[in-house]
Amino acid sequence: MTQPTPWTPDRSYAPQSRAAMAPAPSANLADLLERVLDKGIVIAGDIRVDLLDIELLTVKIRLLIASVDRAREMGIDWWEHDPSLSSGKRDLSLENRRLRERIGELEAARSADRDRTDRAAADGDRADEAPPVRRRRSTRSEP
C-alpha cells in the first residue's frame, strides 16, 4: 500500500525548521537537549563536566520553568484543570516562584560546595576525583 507521505526526507537535517511547518514550533529545544546532552559517543575527554548530574538537572528544570510561561501563552492550561495533574486549583505561578527560589537555594549551595571541592581537588591527587563521566544506559530497545 502506498500512502502519500507528508515528509519527504531531504537530508537537510533541520528538524527545527521542519517542525516549524507543523503546529508546535516550541518542542524542538527539548528534543535537541535530550539528544545532544545525553546522547552521542560517551568519552570522558580530559575536562570533566558532569552533564548527567546536578547541572543537567538544573538545566532541565530551568527549561521546564521557562516553558511554562510559553505554554500558557500558547493557551495550554489543560493540566491546571485536571485534578490528577494539578492537585486542585493551586496557583501555578506561586508554585513556579517557589521552584525558582528552591533552585536558587540549591544552586547557591552547590556553588559553595563546588568551591570547596575545587580547592580540595587542587591540593589532592586528581586520580582521587570522581571517575570519568559515563553515561548511564537509558536507551532501551524494545524487542
Binding site: 500512502q3 507521505t5 515528509w7 526526507p9 537530508r11 537537510s12 537535517y13 528538524p15 521542519r18 517542525a19 507543523a22 508546535a24 516550541s26 518542542a27 527539548a30 528534543d31 535537541l32 537537549l33 535530550e34 539528544r35 545532544v36 546532552l37 546522547k39 552521542g40 559517543i41 560517551v42 568519552i43 570522558a44 575527554g45 580530559d46 575536562i47 570533566r48 563536566v49 552533564l51 547541572e55 538544573t58 538545566v59 527549561l63 521546564l64 521557562a66 516553558s67 505554554a71 495550554i76 489543560w78 493540566w79 484543570h81 485536571d82 485534578p83 490528577s84 563546588r114 591527587d125 586528581r126 586520580a127 559515563r134 553515561r135 544506559r137 536507551t139 532501551r140 530497545s141 524494545e142
Partner: protein
C-alpha cells in the same frame, strides 16, 4: 589567538575531503578543523579556556540561554556533517586540553568507531512522539457512564451521587489513558519492526513538549535512507488508524540516539596541565 584553546570535539566522520569544513564554525564561533587517523577524521575546534574550562563551563551550563545557543551550534555542526557523511555525533561538551588527548582517543577507539560508522551508514534517525488525543476536560459525566447505584443514590444523597460520578469520571479517564498508552506501545513496536534500531527517550512533560496532551511515546528510530518514505508513511498510517492517540514525526536527525559505544579513552589522560610529559602511545 592569545593562549592555546581547549579542543572541543564534535563528531567522527570517515573523511573531510572536498573542503567539508570550509566556512563552518563551532560553539565558540571558531573555525573547524580535523584530526585524522587512517580512515577516520575527528572534527574539532579550539575554544577559549576562559569560557570553556571546567569552572566556566559549569557556570555557563546553568544559563539556559547560553546552553541553547551552544547546543544549537554543536548540533548545527553535526547536522551539516551528517548531510554528506556517515557521522558519529559526540556528546555536547566533550573537551580535551589539547589535540594530543583527542588524537589518542581517536587512535585508541579506531576500530570501534569504524564499526559504529558502518552501523549508521546510509541511515537517519527519526523521532516519533505520540500524545493522548483529545484531552479530557472536567466535563459533566454522561448518563450512560454512570454506575447504576450512583443513579439510584442520586435521588436522596446528592453528595454521594456527585462523588460517585466524579469517581466514574476519573476511572473512565484512567481507563482511556491506559488504553492509549497500550496503543502507543503497539505503535512503538510496529515502528521498531520497520527500523534497524529503536530507542526511547524519556517522555516529555507538557511544559517541555509544548503540547497540552500527555505524551505517551518519545521514540527514536534508525532508518535506512531508502526506507525513509515508507517509514514516514507508516507513521502517518499508524496515527490515522490509532484512535485516541496523535502521532508526530520529527527528523531526519543525525543518529544521536544510536551511537552509544562507550568509547572511554583507552587510558585516562595524564592528570596534568595543558602540556604533559609524553604523549600516551595507544599502540596496542
Amino acid at each position: 589567538m592569545t593562549t592555546p584553546g581547549l579542543t572541543w570535539i564534535y563528531a567522527v566522520v570517515p573523511d573531510v575531503a572536498d573542503g567539508l569544513l570550509d566556512g563552518m564554525t563551532g560553539v565558540a564561533g571558531e573555525p573547524l578543523r580535523a584530526l585524522t587517523a587512517p580512515g577516520l577524521a575527528l572534527v574539532v575546534g579550539s575554544v577559549p579556556r576562559e569560557d570553556f574550562d571546567e569552572r566556566a563551563l559549569q557556570q555557563h551550563l546553568a544559563d539556559l540561554r547560553w546552553v541553547e545557543t551552544a547546543v544549537r551550534a554543536h548540533h548545527r555542526v553535526i547536522a551539516e556533517l551528517a548531510r554528506t557523511r556517515r557521522t558519529l555525533p559526540l556528546r555536547f561538551a566533550t573537551l580535551y586540553r589539547d589535540d594530543r588527548g583527542a588524537l589518542s582517543f581517536l587512535r585508541g577507539a579506531g576500530p570501534r568507531l569504524q564499526a559504529a560508522l558502518d552501523r549508521v551508514a546510509d541511515r537517519d534517525e527519526w523521532g516519533v512522539k505520540a500524545y493522548l488525543d483529545a484531552p479530557v476536560p472536567d466535563a459533566p459525566a454522561t448518563g450512560p457512564a454512570d454506575p447504576p447505584d450512583g443513579a439510584a443514590a442520586a435521588d436522596d444523597r446528592p453528595g454521594t451521587a456527585y462523588l460517585l460520578r466524579r469517581r466514574a469520571q476519573r476511572d473512565d479517564r484512567a481507563r482511556r489513558f491506559e488504553q492509549a498508552h497500550e496503543r502507543a506501545r503497539q505503535i512503538h513496536a510496529a515502528l521498531a519492526d520497520r527500523a534497524d534500531e529503536a530507542a526511547e527517550h524519556p517522555l516529555q512533560s507538557a511544559e517541555a513538549s509544548g503540547r497540552a496532551a500527555p505524551m505517551l511515546l518519545n521514540g527514536a528510530y534508525l532508518v535506512e535512507h531508502a526506507r525513509a518514505a515508507e517509514f514516514g508513511a507508516a507513521v502517518t498510517e499508524l496515527g490515522r488508524r490509532t484512535t485516541g492517540v496523535r502521532v508526530e514525526l520529527t527528523g531526519p536527525w543525525p543518529p544521536y540516539s544510536f551511537v552509544e559505544i562507550d568509547a572511554e579513552p583507552v587510558e585516562p589522560a595524564e592528570p596534568a596541565g595543558p602540556v604533559t610529559g609524553s604523549a600516551p602511545a595507544e599502540g596496542g
